[in-house]
């Protein structure tokens, strides 16, 4: 029973398209995140939601819009995709916003923009 699940695992799309990545956690955690793993392999936080409320919004192009319909779901919508958006996107959750036990990550969505 997957704790943090992301769909799709792979996404290949053309420049200019709009796409969404979905994330769901069944751990009962209050906080969810989107991280981007860039070409240099660094994991960088993009957004964080705590109980459906946005608490972290890093310097990310406004083409990226997160949506949290409830605390178990955090989706990422990307408009007007660009080549530089190609990366692996990881969803994660933690018990609360100040959890010292780190995150539970999903398995990632590899986005390729052609």
């Amino acid at each position: 029973d997957t704790a943090v699940s992301q769909t799709p695992k792979y996404l290949v799309t053309q420049m200019g398209n709009d796409k969404s990545i979905k994330c769901e956690q069944n751990l009962g955690h209050d906080t969810m995140y989107w991280y981007k793993q860039d070409s240099k392999k660094f994991l960088k936080i993009m957004f964080s939601y705590n109980n459906k409320e946005l608490i972290i919004n890093e310097t990310v192009p406004n083409r990226f819009s997160p949506k949290s319909p409830d605390k178990a779901h955090l989706n990422l919508h990307i408009n007007s995709l660009e080549l530089g958006d190609s990366a692996v996107y990881f969803c994660a959750s933690s018990q609360d916003a100040g959890s010292l036990y780190g995150y539970t990550f999903g398995s990632g969505t590899r986005l390729t923009v052609v």
């Binding site: 906080t31 660094f42 994991l43 933690s94 010292l100 780190g102 539970t104 990550f105």
Partner: protein, 113 residues
């Protein structure tokens, strides 16, 4: 500007020997550190943590050492096993900001049988 750096992209170790993975950070405010382990096609999984009030934390075969003055931490795996072959990420955060961790770029460990 990467505040957490793992300067060795890869490390190869013989089974049974010690693996030492290193991590350096630049932000002196960091006071909490985590190590994650990642297998291919999976998300990172939490391995071990250390707070800045300690200089060592041990969990079975895994020990993390923290040298605050050098802004350096290391993960020791003894003895190394083939199943330890994975990418290891270190991450850092600071008090009142634990919802935001800064990650290194990872070190790929290969444990040879």
């Amino acid at each position: 500007d990467q505040q957490v750096k793992q300067n060795s992209p890869s490390l190869s170790v013989q089974e049974g020997r010690i693996s030492i993975l290193n991590c350096d950070y630049t932000n002196s405010m960091f006071d909490y550190f985590l190590w994650y382990k990642k297998y291919p096609a999976e998300g990172p999984t939490f391995l071990i943590s250390i707070s800045s009030i300690k200089d060592k934390n041990e969990d079975g075969r895994f020990t993390v050492f923290l040298n605050k003055s050098a802004k350096h931490l290391s993960l020791h795996i003894v003895p190394s096993q083939p199943g330890d072959s994975a990418v290891y990420f270190c991450a850092a955060s600071y008090t009142d900001n634990f919802n935001k961790f800064y990650f290194g770029s990872g070190t790929k460990l290969n444990v040879k049988p």
